[in-house]
């Protein structure tokens, strides 16, 4: 059980970091909509258009690390299997 919890904790931390990095390593808060700029040819004005898209931020990363840390702490309460 101890080993299983440590493994899950490490996997969660590593998996979340990879997911965060692949989604753009956004250093702000998580976003549920992303802004893109479009150009209005007639007036020459560029204007924002929002698309629904999840971009994980540092809060998402932090939450995953907290859960991973808790799992690791819980793992410490389990005895090591004798060799």
């Amino acid at each position: 059980m101890r080993r299983y919890l440590f493994f899950t904790s490490a996997l969660l931390a590593l998996g979340t970091t990879t997911f965060w990095a692949l989604k753009g390593a956004h250093t702000g808060w998580s976003q549920t909509s992303v802004k893109t700029e479009q150009l209005d040819d007639i007036t020459g004005l560029s204007f924002p258009v929002y698309q629904d898209k999840f971009v994980p931020g540092v809060d998402f990363l932090l939450a995953a690390f907290v859960v991973a840390g808790l799992l690791a702490v819980v793992a410490l309460f389990f005895r090591k299997k004798p060799l």
Partner: protein, 206 residues
Amino acid sequence: MNKLFSTLVATGTLGLASLASAAPQTFDFADKKGVNHATFLLDAPLETISGTANGVSGMVTIDLEKPEATKGEILIDATTLHVGNPVMKEHMHGDKWLDTTKNKEIKFTLEKLSDHKADGDKHSATVTGKFSLKGVEKEISIPVTVTLLPGKLSARLPGTEGDLLVIRSEFTIKRSDFGINTEAPTDKVSDEIKITLAIAGASPKA
């Protein structure tokens, strides 16, 4: 006789046309396409917050021959203010911040135009007026650039002849001046709000 009559008619028509071009024009800034918008930026040492609003409306009457007589108002529907993070958006619209349930409008009423400079159809000036946000009204002066696009309305609204007027402005206001969560630390939420306005108004020919 016929020649004289034709000359008189032609002269009269030209005279009327020049008068018509010099007459004040009213531009409507309501925009169903969602091009008209304002962006806001709060750049604090610890956090940068940026977002947009696209609920723009209002009317501006301008006479490019007499720009100092320009009058009008631009309104922004405060409920259209948007940021990418849903929790931040909820807080921004909440009673501590903008309280958009009670204060649905952000308004700028144009009262005076000065320092007018023209470069072809592009004009620049300083506009002074009343800026109203979260129920607080303050007089501010902002730089604007105005570009007249004669006859371009039909490109935007097929079948409608008229002109377009593009207004751009960038100015800064203080959050504390308008009572927007004055308790929030300025290292996290900047006191200065940089606002960029990019809007186009339509003036259909009668």
